[in-house]
Every structure is written in structure tokens, then in C-alpha cells.
């Protein structure tokens, strides 16, 4: 067990240190790279819990897709870090107040948290020793939680359609490739072969 405990502390420590670097790194691209490091270590923690499906999904979805797009956008922004720091003192009081309120609210919510007495029966946990946890997740997700799961999907779809509609510009002047029209052309419609007598011209 000692190796597992050691691995836990390694993953946890790197994750926390990475998270601190995300907000303190001067270069925004470095921040995103540290964020990726944090995702990775979170996946490592999931693995230690025996939740290998969640670990892989975290890497595929967050690291493989979301963070790539983050990096993509941040790299193309021309951020002047010096100018960003100019207003730091000016915004500090407002930021501190907002942070403080959030902290107090979290403490109140966390402090007043009591587990319901029948929570153990409510938990839809299949017996993990018999089946792999991928199967276990699937069984719960597509039976007991089918509607919340589908609703989450629909919400994402709406967000996607909305963002496409907001950024879509119709450009009637753009010349688009019409592949069907290209393929429908025939040699006899477009090509004419002429015998040119030498010295005569057409």
C-alpha cells in the first residue's frame, strides 16, 4: 500500500503546485500548460481510486479537446503582460471583496452540510467487485439517470447551436467549391479538340 500512498502524495502535490502556477505564471500560455498538468494529475488520482474510465475520459475530453482549444485561443491572443499588471492595485480591493464573499459562502455551505439519514440506501452503487467500473457507470447512467444524462446532452447541444448562430456570418460573395457540379462536368461539354494545321492558326 505504501507505493499507492506515495503516488497519491505525488499526484496531489503536483496538482496543487500546478494549480498555483496556473494563476501565478506570467505567460498565459504557460498558465494553460500548467492547467494541463493539473488535469493530468487529477486523472492520476482517479486511477488511484480505481476509476480508470473517469481517468481516461478526463484525459480525452479535457486534455485532448478542451485544453487544446484553450491553448489555440490563448496562443493567438497578443497579450501584453506588462499592461495587464498596471491595473493590479486598482482592481485589488474589488477582487478581494468578491473572493472574501465567495469564501464565506463556501464555508457556510460546507459547515451546514449534513448527510441525510437514508443516504446510504439512495446511493445507486453497483457492486464493484463483480464488474468493471466502466460497466458499472454505464448501468447507472443509462437506467436510473437516463433523463438527467440526456438533458445534459441537450443543454450542450443548445449551447453549441447558439454559439454557432452568434458567430455565423453569411457571406454571399464567398466563392465556394461545389463538388457535385465539378464531378457532373463532362468532357464533351467543356473540351473541344481541334486539328491545327501547321502554320495556319485557328
Amino acid at each position: 500500500m505504501i507505493v499507492q500512498a506515495l503516488m497519491f502524495y505525488v499526484f496531489a502535490a503536483v496538482a496543487v503546485a500546478g494549480a498555483v502556477m496556473v494563476i501565478s505564471a506570467r505567460n498565459p500560455v504557460h498558465s494553460v500548460l500548467y492547467l494541463i498538468l493539473v488535469f493530468f494529475n487529477a486523472a492520476g488520482l482517479f486511477l488511484l481510486l480505481g476509476a480508470e474510465f473517469l481517468a481516461m475520459m478526463l484525459v480525452i475530453v479535457y486534455v485532448g479537446a478542451v485544453a487544446v482549444l484553450f491553448l489555440f485561443v490563448v496562443m493567438m491572443l497578443d497579450i501584453n503582460t506588462l499592461r495587464l499588471r498596471e491595473g493590479f492595485l486598482q482592481y485589488l480591493p474589488t477582487g478581494a471583496v468578491v473572493g472574501l464573499i465567495l469564501l464565506v459562502e463556501l464555508a457556510m455551505a460546507g459547515g451546514g452540510w449534513v448527510f441525510a439519514s437514508d443516504v446510504e440506501e439512495l446511493r445507486a452503487v453497483p457492486v464493484l467487485s463483480e464488474i468493471s467500473n466502466t460497466e458499472a457507470l454505464g448501468r447507472v447512467m443509462y437506467t436510473d439517470y437516463l433523463y438527467p444524462f440526456q438533458t445534459a446532452g441537450v443543454v450542450l447541444l443548445v449551447a453549441m447551436v447558439g454559439s454557432i448562430m452568434l458567430t455565423l456570418r453569411r457571406r454571399p460573395d464567398a466563392r465556394r467549391q461545389n463538388i457535385a457540379a465539378q464531378l457532373a462536368r463532362h468532357k464533351k461539354d467543356t473540351l473541344e479538340i481541334k486539328k491545327v494545321p501547321s502554320g495556319g492558326g485557328i
Binding site: V3, N27, V29, H30, L33, I36, E52, F53, M56, M57, V59, I60, V63, G64, A65, V68, L69, L71, F72, M75, M76, I131, S132, T134, E135, G138, R139, Q177
Partner: protein
């Protein structure tokens, strides 16, 4: 003490030995893939290819390796040093790490994990970081454009690869690669899933930035794309990683569609060969196709590339997943948990 030895140290030694047994031959295979590429393309273009160093030019990859090893690593002045050096290391590392779950023959696998196919998918989706980091850290227009192109391209084609994988694992009923191979004992998945195999192969070309989708390193417009500024060993790491990824894609194709280590027919002359030989033959066959494509097709235009990925492959593979699930349900063959 005995517990420490039996529980941790001895397994550690065994695992390291296995890793060496996988990585060593893999690197040699990468070296000779470059040789095979030059020979095959040479033959297709009626040239001889490398034939000076050693008999039939067989030592050419070694000579190239030594040349790259002895050259100077140049780091551009405006480059972001840490990210610049990290990018090729990452590419190379990811290309090797994926091989941990590949089953070479029955039971010949370093880590026989339950979510093997997801692990492969996760690792191959990380490959884009090496390229995008290299493009940004080089502080050069060409490299940056190459990196951005690559990011867009790899993210797009990953989506259709994902649906291809879903169709296959629905049929196999498992995420474990060994079980997927075992599920093909009666018929290889290439027969019921032929259109998916074609999509997987083409997406594999795009995912490994191979011709005709090699826009990230299009030499006619971007000089060499994301690796313009790289030299010596940093360049070699990109190169090795890229070719190791090609072999990995071919191995994935062999496992998912061509029955991995299984012989084509389980009768006398075919099952005399050990499983690993069949596996390598299938990989070699798919790799030959990669080289053949490179010698045959011109490069795609970027908008055509995107159109193919999003408007052709994605809807079709989505449709095929639904069709597969429907057919399996109708036949009562849907995997029951």
C-alpha cells in the same frame, strides 16, 4: 524485506525488462521504416533509393541517426527555451508510451488494462500538444502556422476516429484490446465494418500528419511547418515520434479491424505461423499502404480537408454507429453487461 522484493522490486525489474523488449525493437522498426519509405517511393518513381551505405543501403538509417546525433542543437534567440525543448521530448514520449497496451500475441502485453482502447485514444489525442507547443515556442511564423493547422486537423479527425472506435467496441463488447482481438475469431471486423475501416485509415493518415494530409509541414508554403526551427536531436525526436505514431496507427488498425494476432483462417498452413508474425505482417501491410499513398496522391487543400472531416466522415460514422447498434439489437447480439 522479502515482501518488498516480491511485492515491488521483482515486478519492477520484470516490467522494465518488458519495456526494453518493446522499445528496442520499436526504435529499430522506426529506423527501418524510414529506409523502407525511401526504397518503396524510390521504386514507385523508378529510382533506386538509398544504396550506398552498407549492402543495399541497409545501414543508411544508422548513418542518418549518427549524423543527427553529432549535429549542433540550435535554439533560436526569440524562442521560449523550456517549451521549445519540451515539445519534441513530449512527442517522442507519447509515441512510445502508447505501446504499453498493444497486445502483440495472446497474453503478450505489458499492461492488459480494461480500458485499453480509451487509453490509446487518450494518448493519440495528446499527440497534438507536441506539435502545437513546438509551433508556438519556435517564435516563427511558419512554425506557428504549421502548429495551428495541425491542431485544427488533428482535433477534427479525432472525432470521426472516436465514432469508428465506438462502432468496433459495440461489436466486440469490450474496451480491452485483447478481448477485441478475441472477438474477431469468427470473422475479422474489416468485413462487417469495411466503410469504417476506410474512414479509420484515412483519419489515421490525417492524425499522423501523413501525405496527403501533411499540411502542417507543407514544404511548398510553410518551409517545414512546425519543425522549421528544430535541428539535430530535437528534430530527430520529432521524426522518430512521427514514424512511431505511424506504426502505432497501423497496429491499431490491425487490432481493431484485421484480427490482431489471429491468422486469416484457423487451418493448417496458416496457424503454423506464431501470432506475433501475423500481427507484424498486418502492420507491415498497412504501413505499405501509408507509403503508397504518399507516392501517389497530391496534398489536400485545407478547406477540403476540413470538409472531408466534418461534413463527410463525421455524419457517416455517426450513422454507422447507430446502424451497428440497431443491427446488433435486431440480431440479439448486443453485448450484455
Amino acid at each position: 524485506m522479502a515482501e518488498l522484493w516480491d511485492g515491488y522490486l521483482w515486478p519492477l525489474i520484470v516490467i522494465i525488462a518488458k519495456i526494453v523488449l518493446i522499445v528496442g525493437p520499436l526504435l529499430i522498426a522506426v529506423a527501418y521504416l524510414t529506409y523502407a519509405e525511401r526504397k518503396v517511393i524510390g521504386a514507385m518513381q523508378m529510382r533506386k533509393g538509398p544504396n550506398v551505405v552498407g549492402p543495399f543501403g541497409l545501414l543508411q538509417p544508422m548513418a542518418d541517426g549518427v549524423k543527427l546525433f553529432l549535429k549542433e542543437t540550435v535554439i533560436p534567440t526569440g524562442a521560449n527555451r523550456v517549451v521549445f525543448v519540451l515539445a519534441p521530448v513530449l512527442t517522442f514520449f507519447l509515441a512510445l508510451v502508447a505501446w504499453a497496451v498493444i497486445p502483440f500475441s495472446e497474453g503478450w502485453v505489458l499492461a492488459d488494462i480494461n480500458v485499453g482502447i480509451l487509453y490509446l485514444f487518450a494518448i493519440s489525442s495528446l499527440g497534438v500538444y507536441g506539435i502545437i507547443m513546438a509551433g508556438w515556442a519556435s517564435n516563427s511564423k511558419y512554425a506557428f502556422l504549421g502548429g495551428l493547422r495541425s491542431a485544427g486537423q488533428m482535433v477534427s479527425y479525432e472525432v470521426s476516429i472516436g465514432f469508428v472506435l465506438v462502432a468496433v467496441l459495440l461489436t466486440a463488447g469490450s474496451l480491452n484490446l485483447s478481448k477485441i482481438v478475441e472477438a474477431q475469431r469468427s470473422v475479422w471486423f474489416v468485413i462487417p465494418h469495411l466503410p469504417m475501416f476506410v474512414i479509420f485509415y484515412i483519419s489515421g493518415l490525417a492524425e499522423t500528419n501523413r501525405c496527403p494530409f501533411d499540411l502542417p509541414e507543407a514544404e511548398s508554403e510553410l518551409v517545414a511547418g512546425y519543425n522549421v526551427e528544430y535541428s539535430a536531436m530535437t528534430f530527430a525526436q520529432f521524426f522518430l515520434g512521427e514514424y512511431a505514431n505511424m506504426i502505432l496507427m497501423a497496429a491499431m488498425g490491425a487490432i481493431l479491424f484485421l484480427g490482431g494476432w489471429l491468422p486469416p483462417f484457423d487451418v493448417a498452413p496458416f496457424n503454423w505461423l506464431p501470432g506475433i508474425v501475423w500481427f507484424f505482417l498486418k502492420i507491415a501491410f498497412l504501413l505499405f499502404g501509408f507509403l503508397w499513398v504518399r507516392a501517389t496522391f497530391p496534398r489536400y487543400r485545407y478547406d477540403q480537408l476540413m470538409r472531408l472531416g466534418w461534413k463527410v466522415f463525421l455524419p457517416f460514422s455517426l450513422f454507422w454507429v447507430v446502424l451497428t447498434a440497431g443491427v446488433l439489437l435486431a440480431l440479439g447480439r448486443l453485448p450484455q453487461g
